[in-house]
Amino acid sequence: MAVDTKKCVGCSDCVVACQTENKVPIGYCRDWVVEVMDGTYPQLEIEIRSERCNHCENSPCVRCCPTGASHYADGGVVLVTPDECIGCGACIASCPYDARYPHPDGYVDKCTFCLDNRVKKGLDPACVSVCPTKCMYFGDLDDPNSPVSKVLKKRKFKTLIPEAGTQPQLYFLI
């Protein structure tokens, strides 16, 4: 997924759409919006990012999981199987992005890219489809014709803390 930091206005529609679509328990969220203010008034620069699990290629959460509940699903999406999760918190401690949280039902929960409920039906993830500025691009990075591949070819981008060595797969257009 790619998020255009030049188009994102920080409206948080993506957060609400995710909570509604995925029945995220009240008081929790799987995605969130970060605002970065840089400089001194009046020379201010602002960057707004819609953030979520980075679905890393070298996921520390998958590595640390003692039961294999955290795993790579189709297309490299990182998922948790609730029935295999013991709620030990190792994956939560291992995530440099703090993208996971313990669901009130006990298992660990996080962004799924709406893989089963939307993407497999040919729809975009809830956050992407609802974005009023169309600032998010989703698709298969191995497919050169997917929206995300196309936009990454023509725009400059960055990932968050690549130095943590997790090979994050959430790209921010800058």
Binding site: D38, P60, P66, C88
Partner: protein, 313 residues
């Protein structure tokens, strides 16, 4: 000036504003695991070297603590799990990459052996113990015949357990304070040191106490060396590691760490043990009690400070 903040509002329980997923359970579990590893290591070592009679407390008496300590530790781990009824999933897979997984399996080896070891020495505590059933006597005879191989298994697995208590933390590169491989040897040394201290506390034999005070003194020396190296490593590393070290070097954990762990848990007992070896008469229990308390506080500080150290935002 740069300021980053979450504007959509996020207050995920146990995550925000800083990570606090692990409370008292995990540090207690790691402390008890390390302490048990220390006691069992000495019991196994002095059995292998044939010094059971010279060090009866280390070989026979102190290991009685370990089934209790390990059970309490495992109970703490169970209480920490948020999906408790699924805990058995730990034992349907082995994932070598996950310290939580192979650590759980290590405990699955060490805990039953700690019960076996205690059962074999039950007459130390209850001289008139009767196993009642023939098969229990047969079982006892079997274990007694194979005591050397069992001691070897225990020796190796107690070392693995001791290292695991540190590796559990150091496997998380998301928490810079934990992400140092020195934590494995450091927690092992600390575990062995608390184990030796527990033996000194229990021993009624002056010569045995002096031997273990000497062992403990050496272990404290190694621990201090490892702690200094840990901070040197952090300060020579990246910004996030420097910030992690600063939690203990001027940050909120400075006083508890340098006062309770370094001074009262390491330096003072080392001095007391040295004085004792120089034949000064001091209450013998002060040094080991301080070592054990220091070890416990050290686990708690590392668990909390580690969760406060992070990469960004």
């Amino acid at each position: 000036m740069k300021e980053e903040l979450i504007i959509s509002g996020r207050m995920n329980q146990f995550i925000d504003p800083t990570l606090h997923i692990w409370h008292w359970h995990i540090p207690l579990y790691l402390f008890l695991g390390g302490l048990s590893a220390g006691i069992l290591f000495f019991a196994a070592y002095f059995t292998i070297t044939g010094k059971e009679d010279k060090y009866p407390t280390a070989v026979k008496l102190a290991p009685f603590l370990t089934p209790v300590l390990l059970s309490v530790g495992l109970l703490a781990l169970l209480l920490d799990l948020k999906h408790k009824t699924y805990f058995w999933r730990l034992y349907t897979t082995i994932r070598i990459e996950s310290p939580m997984s192979w650590g759980a399996w290590t405990l699955m080896v060490v805990t039953p052996l700690s019960f076996v070891w205690s059962a074999l020495n039950i007459k130390t505590l209850f001289p008139n113990w009767d196993w009642k059933y023939k098969f229990l006597y047969d079982l006892e005879a079997f274990f007694r015949k194979n005591i050397k191989p069992i001691a070897w298994i225990l020796l190796i697995f107690s070392l693995i357990l001791g290292v695991y208590t540190g590796i559990l933390f150091s496997a998380f590169n998301a928490r810079p304070l934990w992400n140092t491989s020195i934590l494995g040897p450091l927690f092992l040394t600390s575990g062995l040191s608390t184990g030796a201290a527990a033996i000194v506390l229990l021993s009624r034999n002056h010569a045995e106490r002096l031997t273990f005070a000497r062992i403990d003194l050496m272990l404290i020396g190694i621990e201090v060396f490892l702690i200094i190296h840990m901070f040197m490593g952090f300060l020579a590393s990246t910004q996030v590691h420097i910030e992690a070290a600063e939690l203990f070097l001027g940050g909120p954990y400075t006083t508890p760490f340098w006062l309770f762990v370094f001074t009262l848990g390491l330096a003072v007992p080392a001095v007391l043990e040295m004085l004792e070896l120089k034949k000064f008469h001091l209450p013998y229990w002060i040094a080991p009690a301080l070592v054990i308390a220091g070890g416990l506080i050290f686990r708690f500080l590392m668990a909390n400070a580690g969760q406060a150290s992070r990469w960004l935002y």
